[in-house]
Amino acid sequence: MERNRFDSAVARHSRRVFTFASYLLGDPGEAEDVTQEVLIRLWRSGGEVEPDRLGAWLLTVTRNACTDVLRRRRRSAEVIPIRHETQPPKDHPSPAPSPERMAAGSQLGREIAHALSELSETSRSVVILREIQGLSYREISEITKIHIDTVRVILHRARRRLRDSLKEVQTHVVNA
């Protein structure tokens, strides 16, 4: 890939890649690593990706990289207990704000970002791609390799689950 083409692809798509990774992983440090990995992979692809498929290609690669991170996280969680409220790692001296912090403008937004993290990876991917990134069912189907009708079903079920878990949170807040 020519350097100019690569630079313009980074300018155009890096936001999309980072947004997807951030909401999918819920961890800005890991999202940074994934974004870097995906963009370098684009450079190393040597211009093999067709320009009109570039957006979908990047999000597919992002999703695969995030799946690897989540798998590693699950594996290490089996060995090391997760410690909350820890200092950020030294590699990430000032991490980007997390999706929850970005959504903290409203109480509901923060609760939604938290409820998202409790969905399965597939449901989360579909909700993020559709509702936050505004992609069509066809584009989501291409990225996730899931049939377009199934994408629709997954989205509706995920939104209903989000509604249910938000209702639980709100009931809990009222009772407390």
Partner: protein
């Protein structure tokens, strides 16, 4: 008599709320659902919660990667570009021409070698065929010789001669005994005597 359609149940309505929010329902089904929502406050609350959730999801911000991410990517790309240039620079035009010449020579040598091998192979095959022929002929000759020896030994020469050799003393004895006519000889002996 016209039949009025059955009113929509709550479980049916709840299944249709999400498609309604995405404008995916047939107009007639959407109309039935709206009628149900007008009459059912519980389902109407669900539909309102769904609409609020979708609005909230769609208002979640897209996130810009920190500048350092892009800088790190550019750093890696710069380094790899320099390495690539370095590699191609080291292998400049005269170098490429020399490599091409060596390649052509190597390919030519390989082609000639292949021809030699093919020729030697053909000669080896011919020699093997000749050897086979010779062996067949030798076998033939051996068999014929065997037959000739057999014929010679059994039919014509050796046995009659031996017999003649044996017969002579007997003849002499017989002649000596009888001193009359010579004893009768076998046909073989007669033939031998005629030949």
């Amino acid at each position: 008599m016209s039949s009025t359609p059955e009113p929509m149940r709550c479980d049916e309505a709840l299944d249709l709320i999400e498609p309604l929010l995405d404008n995916e329902l047939d107009p007639s089904v959407a109309e039935d659902l709206r009628r149900h929502l007008d009459a059912c406050p519980s389902c109407a609350d669900e539909a309102e919660a769904g609409r609020q959730l979708v609005d909230e999801l769609r208002s979640l911000p897209e996130l810009d990667p920190p500048r350092r991410v892009v800088e790190r990517v550019r750093g890696t790309v710069d380094r790899e570009s320099a390495q690539r240039r370095d590699r191609t620079g080291r292998f400049n035009r005269p170098g490429r021409l020399a490599a091409a010449a060596v390649l052509v020579l190597a390919l030519g040598a390989a082609a000639i070698g292949r021809q030699h091998v093919a020729r030697a192979d053909a000669e080896a095959r011919r020699a093997a065929a000749d050897l086979t022929c010779a062996l067949v002929r030798l076998n033939d000759i051996t068999q014929r010789a065997n037959r000739a020896i057999q014929t010679e030994v059994i039919d014509h020469r050796v046995v009659p001669v031996a017999a003649r050799g044996l017969a002579r003393p007997f003849q002499r004895i017989s002649n000596g005994i009888s001193k009359g006519e010579p004893p009768a000889t076998s046909p073989e002996v007669r033939n031998e005597g005629n030949s």
